[in-house]
Amino acid sequence: MAVEKILLHNVDKPNSHKLDTYLAGGGYEDLRKALAMGRDDLVQLVKDSGLRGRGGAGFPAGLKWSFIPKDPSLQKYLCCNADEGEPGTFKDRIIIEKDPHLLIEGMAITCHAINSDKSYIYIRGEFEYGAQILEQAIEEAYEKGYLGKNIMGTDFSLDMYVHRGYGAYICGEETALLESIEGYRGQPRKKPPFPALAGLNGKPTVINNVESLACIPGIIRKGSKWFANMGPEKSPGPKLFCVSGHIEKPGVYELPMGTTGREIIYEVCGGIKAGRKFKAVIPGGVTAPMLVEKDLDLSMDFDTMAQAGSMLGSGAVIVMDDTTCMVRTSYIINRFFSHESCGKCTPCREGTIWMTQILERMENGEGRPGDVEELERLCDNIFGRTFCPLGDGAVMALRGCLKHFREEFVYHVENGRCMVKGGF
């Protein structure tokens, strides 16, 4: 499947992270173009493109921007969500490390659109290298006048800061991210007020994912129609799929939205590892409930995945073959959630660890009769009652697995061992 690369346009070039390389590929010309446009026109353009947020929720980017109050006396902020915490996700990282100027340009255009002169990149703590690259790129951009005062001779000025996280998944949730930048403990805030009205330091703030922002220069260059026409009508555009697991050629692939799971696995990634049999796939990071063989021909886009009871999420495709034990998988995923539960709300804090404890026993052959029902009961008691989507995510993942593979759980309880041969 050969497609024109927009997001990964530069990444294979030598010294792709350098400003010179970026400029040679026409870099920052889109910013120049955008600066000549009116703010409302810019927002409209992004609305028309149909770009939906690539961080997981798929919220229309242009619409989000349009919520920002126009009052010029108000400080406004853009925060780029580079926390990339969802297990299986490694798509933002490639942009950060290999093409940081694409992100910076996208952010600059966005800031112009929302009339903000201060922006932050909240980067996952473990991305030490990425943070260095970003710092260097920002410095280069300042030197050449793509950041700082009066960019390209206009009255638009912009400062950009890299803010490193400290290793909490919850800090990828947009309001916890804001708390963290402000220097507080990373825990989600209540909404309303929504960040567009009261975000960072109580001021109007847009939070967008790295990939979402990296889409912006392309939309300026090639127009909203080009973007809107790629893939399904309601969720168009190029998409980075990061494929991992039991697959021949794992990696990050730029494909049009709506590519099917089968195409990704068998055409793009060379099929299941070592010729084994496909068992299940997580389409969008561990929060997204698993899909099975019959779902493989579905279009990978926000709406279709949601209809199928899962989600496109971050586009992290995790492929599992028939040696995979679903109890163990669930245990590992759940352990992640209970470890990352921020502790704020009761059902997630106490419920996820409880589930993990049960799954751990099952996995160790110490399951008890009633454990599966107990897991289901706990799911019911957590779901829809947590403060933020993290707790719900834990339930979705487990329910997804129980839905297709309940018998494996029962087997584990009854026999004290796995019904899958070979294991992980």
Partner: protein, 838 residues
């Protein structure tokens, strides 16, 4: 869809129609129709976090249950708080909360008054399905302060503790550590706290996590006997419930809904109760014998008084009764002095002159009736002046923070040293100690810049406009810019509350300036409220009762020949050998009068010195006769707080041993010195007060627990007090370059607090506080030992560097035992000059 009428939204809760204004929370809307929704993390005064999920309710048309405590109502909402889903969700929340809970109620101090126990009882299920291993955050309870012991294994993670410390107390020394089920609310690194020790974190904790260390394993709530009293440590007048078991007072607690302070209290109120149990209490009348004392009986004591009294003449008698006695006793005291002893010499303090007190009363319009504190501080600008509010009246600090943080007012602080509330303030100004008059003068000139006419009319009432703003500002230690900024804030405000504190009294300066400021602002059309901020629990009551040398009961001015000596005057007379008899109740003159050497000398020259006390103070040591009295907590009566609210005291115990209620002692003395004095038919003292003090007419002193009411305006003029001279301030010399200021400490207010072992344990070492510039100039480091020396006295302290305290100022708190700071003072000086050496 139902229509909204009168700006109100109409909705339905459990089938009942509710009309509430836009923005009302579901929880509050439910209360309107008597529907109670259970809560844990919700606290009306704290920011809403919606985390415990106990309050989740079902809203028609919404898939997810929503937390009632943070969700505002919308028009036409249909809410179910008791549907099957909601009930089972609640039950599951409790099951979750209990899953990792220690369930060690039998050894938990909170058992019996635990919100979790109550909640499980009313909303929980019998049996939990949790059969996994519990997470334990630590093995043993750990101590994080001399008053706090912590057990995190009982925590329900409501985070009230962290929020109250940050949002109410303004300290912010607590936080959550760890994540998920390992989250723990505690001090930084679980180490010992250097905090206000206010115990607010204990009070808000619904379970047994934050616990009182002094109360540990002492009682079960059902074993306790309670009495509702008023905190004796400052004039804020916090209601406190004293509780005892088997003859020992084990705690003082602020209950929600009781008193204006609700559950708010400071360290003194919450932990200073142990003076009631102290074994240092005086329990027998004592007669001077050689260098010591001998115990005598009450009848011997009265016999002595009778014999000595006969030798004295009225103008050479005098009395001082501390402003921590109830109104009834103070009223009786002035009657006893004036009528039975026939002397006009009486006072309620040894810390400032009667005239200064008069000028302060006049400036704060204390005769104009009472207010309620919340209404009083609900202004466009709250202006804190002449008080170290955060330390002296901590609960007012909480209230001002609350009002300011809710965005309702501007907060301006004018004081000579840094305070906690600065962090909340929109503007903090540091003026030179002892130069408040110049500051106020400059401020008024700023307010009237460009208004020559207005200035002229203020000059007529005493404003001086001869010196320029710039020069005054310099002398007052502020910049003209700061003054202009403050003046702008005042100009932009319609209502202004000035909280005027005891610096004006102690430094004998600023009352006239305050009066001029009041006139100046009123002439600009501002609505002004001036609130006295006082440190002795019943100072306002003492003045109102007429315990003042030139004011009778109800602030009625006395004619020149009716006026007597104030405490200062009595000491002068005593020093000259002109005092035959002095009757001192509860006032530690030797410890408080600003010149200890002089006070001690004067007291020892009093012909016959009667000291009625609860502890052996330095003044008592000078006495010829000591009479053991009682503390608040052992007697009935009323206190009038600084804003004029009258509140009842109920006793929790009787005075120890042979000690007696002060009113009874006074009664005996009265009948001893004046036969027939007690027969004037005044058996109900409060009734007598109401006869001569009209501002107390509407007070219902029989109301127990609840409020007795606020004093009302009296038709008297205190203007004459403005004619007396104010202190000129102090000019540092090369040898003594620093100005010393003194005042109450967060843990100590008045000599009584120094007898509390618990309060004493909070701050062992006396500290002297300077700003960073002074420390740097002198090459001093935080925590080191230093000597502070005035011309006549030298003592050593630990140095504390306090950001925000200006250069050239040293602060030392009053009431440290063994650190008699009034030795630094010389009679007539208000600001001693000192130097610091290492």
């Amino acid at each position: 869809m139902v229509e909204a009428v009168d700006d109100k939204l109409i909705l339905e809760i459990d089938g009942k129609e509710v009309r509430v204004p836009f923005g009302t929370l579901i929880l509050d809307a439910a209360k309107e129709v008597d529907v109670t929704i259970p809560t844990f993390c919700y606290q009306a005064r704290l920011s809403g976090i919606g985390s415990c999920r106990m309050c989740i309710v079902e809203i028609e048309g919404q898939k997810k249950l929503q937390p009632a405590c943070i969700t505002p109502v919308m028009d036409g909402m249909k809410i179910a708080t008791n549907s099957e889903t909601v009930v089972s969700a609640r039950r599951s929340m409790l099951e979750f909360l209990l899953s990792n809970h220690a369930k060690d109620c039998p050894v938990c101090d909170k058992a019996g008054e635990c919100e979790l126990q109550d909640m499980v009882y009313s909303h929980g299920q019998r049996k939990s399905k949790f059969e996994e291993k519990k997470i334990s955050l630590h093995v043993k309870d750990y101590i994080i302060s001399p008053v706090i012991i912590k057990n995190s294994n009982r925590c329900v993670q409501c985070v009230r503790c962290v929020r109250v410390c940050r949002e109410v107390v303004g300290r912010g020394v607590l936080g959550s550590v760890g994540r998920g089920a390992y989250q723990e609310e505690t001090s930084f690194r679980k180490g010992e706290l250097d905090c206000d020790s206010c115990g607010m974190c204990i009070e808000v904790c619904p379970v047994g996590c934050f616990m009182r260390l002094p109360y540990r394993y002492k009682a079960r709530p059902w074993d306790l006997k309670s009495a509702i009293s008023v905190c004796p440590y400052c004039a804020t007048g916090c209601k406190t419930t004293l509780q005892e078991r088997d003859g020992e007072v084990v705690r003082s607690i602020a209950f929600k809904g009781l008193g204006f302070n609700d559950w708010l209290m400071c360290a003194r109120g919450r932990f200073g109760y142990d003076i009631l149990n102290s074994d240092k209490r005086l329990t027998k009348p004592l007669r001077k014998k050689g260098d010591g004392f001998e115990e005598i009986s009450w009848s011997e004591a009265m016999g002595m008084i009778s014999a000595e009294f006969a030798k004295t003449s009225p103008e050479k008698r005098g009395g001082v009764a501390t402003a921590s006695l109830p109104n009834e006793e103070l009223f009786f005291f002035q009657k006893l002095m004036r009528e039975a002893m026939g002397t006009p010499n009486l006072d309620s303090t040894s810390r400032w002159s009667g005239d200064t007190a008069g000028a302060y009363m006049a400036a704060t319009a204390i005769n104009e009736g009472g207010r309620t504190i919340y209404k009083a501080v609900n202004s466009d600008t709250v202006f804190v002046l002449g008080t170290q509010l955060s330390e002296e009246n901590p609960v007012i600090d909480y209230i001002v923070r609350h009002v300011t943080d809710s965005g309702r007012s501007n907060l301006v602080i004018v004081s000579p040293r840094a305070m906690k509330l600065d962090a909340t303030a929109h503007q903090s100004l540091r003026h030179t100690p002892g130069e408040l008059a110049k500051f106020l003068n400059a401020l008024i000139l700023c307010l009237y810049e460009g208004d020559a006419g207005g200035l002229a009319s203020l000059e007529e009432v005493g404003l001086s406009s001869k010196v320029s703003i710039a020069e005054l500002a310099k002398l007052a230690g502020v910049t003209v810019d700061e003054l202009r900024q403050l003046s702008m804030r005042l100009k932009r405000s319609e209502t202004i509350s000035i909280l005027a504190g005891t610096d004006i009294l102690k430094l004998d300066q600023g009352a006239r300036g305050l009066r001029l400021l009041k006139l100046a602002l009123e002439a600009m059309g501002k609505r002004l409220r001036i609130l006295p901020i006082l440190d002795r629990a019943n100072q306002r009551g003492a003045w109102g009762m007429g315990v003042h040398p030139s004011l009778g009961p109800g602030f009625s001015p006395l004619s020149d020949d009716e006026k007597g000596l104030d405490c200062y005057g009595m000491l002068e007379a005593a020093a000259a050998g002109e005092m035959d008899l002095m009757y001192v109740i509860g006032e530690d003159i030797a410890g408080m009068y600003p010149d200890r050497a002089f006070a001690e000398d004067a007291l020892s020259k009093v012909g016959f010195l009667i000291v009625q006390e609860t502890f052996m103070t330095d003044t008592a040591l000078k006495a010829d006769l000591i009479l053991p009295g009682a503390l608040a907590g052992e007697k009935t009566g009323t206190f009038t707080n600084q804003v004029g609210r009258v509140q009842n005291l109920a006793p929790i115990q009787s005075p120890p041993g042979g000690a007696r209620i002060d009113l009874d002692i006074m009664g005996d003395i009265a009948s001893t010195v004046s036969k027939g004095f007690m027969d004037d038919g005044c058996t109900d003292i409060f009734g007598c007060i109401q006869k001569v003090v009209p501002s107390y007419l509407n007070i219902d002193n029989k109301s127990t627990g609840k409020d007795c009411g606020s004093v009302i305006s009296t038709d008297v003029s205190l203007e004459a007090f403005f004619n007396v001279a104010e202190s000129p301030g102090a000019v540092p010399t090369e040898e003594y370059p620093l100005r010393l200021i003194t005042g109450n400490h967060l843990f100590y207010s008045g000599n009584l607090s120094s007898y509390s072992d618990i309060l004493g344990s909070l701050l062992k070492e006396p500290v002297a506080e300077v700003g960073p510039e002074t420390a740097k100039a002198l090459g001093l480091e935080d925590g080191q030992n230093i000597n502070v020396a005035s011309e006549g006295y030298l003592d050593s302290f630990r140095l504390k560097i306090s950001k925000g305290t200006p250069a050239g100022v040293v602060f030392i708190a009053e009431n440290y035992e063994d650190k008699p700071i009034n030795r630094f003072f010389k009679r007539g000086e208000t600001i001693p000059l000192v130097k610091i050496t290492s």
